[in-house]
Symmetry: C2
Subunit: 327 residues, 2 copies
C-alpha cells in the first residue's frame, strides 16, 4: 500500500540519509546527500532535505506518502517543529517544519534522532512490547530517548533524553557542551578513540598492534578500527572497549535510579562492538545498581536496526502522528 | 463532604503520621505513633498502621472514607501493593496492601513517600499546573518523584525516582545502599551534618559558633541546628549549606539532562533552609545545565506543604485511584 509509506530523513553530522519506509519498518528505497557544512545557512540544509524528499517521491509519485519525519541530532522543541539547537549544523531556534512545509506537501514532523531510534527499536526492533524503554545511542557522543507505553517522552521543553550530558566525573574531561565530566566523554566512540590515542602519545608498547593498524598515524584511529582489532583478539583494544563498557554500565545504573526502565537498548555506531562492550556494561550495571539484590533489574540489549534506526523511526513516528493516514 | 475524606499515612524512620485529608488537601484530623524498630516483624508495623487508621475512623465513623493511602520510605512495586524493600523497616517483598486490606474496609494503596509528596505539591502546592515535574525530598537521604501530566511515573518495576542514588563522584563517600559517591551523600541532611562534624574533627576555628551551639558534642549537630545557625548569620553554617546547594544544583542539572522537566520542587526537612540552600543550587544548576543559553530552563522552587506533603499526597493519590469515591 503505497499510501501508507512514509519518508524518513536522518540528518547527521556528515550525511543526510533518506528512505521510504513501509508500515512494517522496511526501507523500500533510499536516497542520500552529504550534510552541508555548518558554516552554510539553514536554507542550504533545507534545500538538501527537499532534494532527498523529491528523489524519493519520484519513486512512488507525489502525494502518496503519509508523512515526512525528520530526525535531527540536536535539541528539538516539544512542538516537533523547531530545532532549538544543533551542534553540527547552523540551526538555532530554527522553524524547520514551517520552512519545509512550504515546499513539501506531506505533513512534516521533526524529532530528535535518538527519540526516533528509540521509537524504531520499540516498534520494530529490540524492545518490542516494552512498556518502559530507555534508548542509548553511542556515536561520537551519547544520545538518548525515553518511551513509556509507546509514547516518546520529550520533557517539558522537548530536550529530555540528553543522557550524555549527565556529569559523572566532577572536574573530568571537557565536553563540547561546555561542561566537564559529561558521561559522553567516558562512554562514547570519541572517548574510545581519545583513550587509544593517549596510548599512542604515551608510546605504550601495549598499543603496538593498534599502532600498526593505524599506520602509525593517530588520526587514523577510529571506533570501527579499534572495534575490528578487538574482534581480531587484540587485548589492548578489548581492554579499551571493556573500560568504555564499564563507564556505560555506570551511567546506565544512574538512569535506572532515575527512571527504572525495563529495557535499555544500546544503539549507535559503537554498539557494533556487541558483547565486547556490553559484557562489561552489564557487569558494572549489576554492581552499581542501587538496591541490587532486592529488586528486579532491567535488561541491557543491543539495538537491532543498526544505523537505520533513526531513519525508520523518524518515518514511522511521523506516520503515527497523522490520523488518519493521508493518501 | 465526609464521604470524600481520605486517610493518609506517612511511614517514616521515626514516626507513623496519619491524617484525614479533605478534597482540598486540608488535614482535618491527625493521629501518630512511633515507628516500630526495624528489628520488629512486619506485623508490628501493620498493627501500628491499623491503630492509626482506627483512631482516625473513630472521628468520622467507619465506612466514610474513600480510601487509605500509605506513603512509605522505600521501594514500592508498580502494583502499589507490595513494599519491595524499605531500609528503615523489616519489609522485604512485603505484601502490605493484602495484609492491611484484611483489617481495613476502605481501598488501600501503597506508594513511595516521595511519589506521594510529588503528587501533593502538584495537586495542592508549589507545582500546580506543571506538566513535567520532578520532586526532590531532602532528608537524611534524597527521595524523588516524577509526574507527567498528573500521572505518577513509577517506572517498569515501581522504583523510579531514586535520584539520591545516582553516582556523581566516582570512588566518593560510601552510601547506605552499598555504592560509593551517591548524590545523597553530597546533597542531603546527612551530608550537611557529616561536613559540619568533620570541621569539629579538624578542630577548625571557623566552626566555633557551631561548636558552641552543639555544646561541644558532635552528636548534637543536626540539620535544623546548622540551618538555624545559618539563619542567624553564622558564616560557616551558611557556607556549609551553600556547598550542599552546589551539589544539589549539579544533580538537578543531571536530572534536567535526562528528563527535562519544567519544575523541580525541593522538599523534605532540609528544604526549610530555603534560599540559604536554593540560591546556590540555582546558581550551580544554571552553570551546569547542558545547552544553557540555547534552551528554556526549569524553575527550582521550594515545596509548600512541608512535612505534610507525604501524608496529604498518600491520601489524595489513594482517593484518585478510587472511581467513583466509595461512600
Amino acid at each position: 500500500m503505497s499510501d501508507q509509506l512514509a519518508i524518513g530523513i536522518d540528518i547527521g553530522g556528515t550525511k543526510v540519509a533518506g528512505g521510504l519506509v513501509d508500515v512494517d519498518g522496511n526501507i523500500t528505497h533510499r536516497a542520500r546527500r552529504d550534510t552541508p557544512h555548518r558554516s552554510k545557512s539553514p536554507a542550504v540544509v533545507e534545500d538538501t532535505i527537499v532534494e532527498v524528499v523529491a528523489e524519493l517521491l519520484q519513486v512512488v509519485g507525489s502525494g502518496t506518502v503519509a508523512a515526512v519525519g525528520i530526525g535531527a541530532a540536536g535539541f528539538v522543541a516539544a512542538d516537533r517543529a523547531t530545532v532549538v539547537f544543533a551542534p553540527h549544523l547552523s540551526w538555532r531556534h530554527e522553524p524547520l517544519q514551517e520552512a519545509l512545509q512550504k515546499r513539501i506537501a506531506a505533513p512534516i514532523f521533526v524529532d530528535n534522532d535518538a527519540n526516533a531510534a528509540a521509537w524504531a527499536e520499540w516498534k520494530f526492533g529490540a524492545a518490542q512490547g516494552e512498556t518502559h524503554l530507555m534508548m542509548i545511542t553511542l556515536g561520537t557522543g551519547i544520545g538518548g530517548g525515553i518511551l513509556i507505553n509507546g509514547e516518546v517522552q520529550r520533557g517539558r521543553f522537548g530536550i529530555a533524553g540528553e543522557f550524555g550530558h549527565m556529569q559523572i566525573v566532577p572536574g573530568g574531561h571537557r565536553c563540547e557542551c561546555g561542561n566537564r565530566g559529561c558521561w559522553e566523554q567516558y562512554a562514547s566512540g570519541n572517548a574510545l578513540v581519545r583513550e587509544a590515542r593517549s596510548l599512542f602519545s604515551a608510546s605504550s608498547p601495549i598499543a603496538s598492534d593498534l599502532f600498526d593498524r593505524a599506520g602509525g598515524v593517530p588520526g587514523n584511529l577510529t571506533g570501527p578500527l579499534i572495534t575490528q582489532a578487538a574482534q581480531d583478539g587484540d587485548p589492548t583494544a578489548r581492554e579499551l572497549l571493556s573500560e568504555i563498557g564499564n563507564w556505560l554500565g555506570l551511567g546506565i545504573a544512574n538512569l535506572a535510579a532515575v527512571f527504572d526502565p525495563g529495557t535499555f537498548v544500546i544503539g549507535g555506531g559503537l554498539s557494533a562492538a556487541g558483547d565486547l562492550l556490553l559484557a562489561s556494561a552489564r557487569e558494572t550495571f549489576k554492581r552499581q545498581l542501587t538496591g541490587r539484590g532486592y529488586r528486579p533489574e532491567a535488561r541491557i540489549v543491543a539495538a537491532e536496526l543498526g544505523n537505520d534506526a533513526g531513519l525508520i523511526g523518524a518515518a514511522d513516528l511521523a506516520r503515527s502522528g497523522v490520523q488518519p493516514a493521508i493518501g
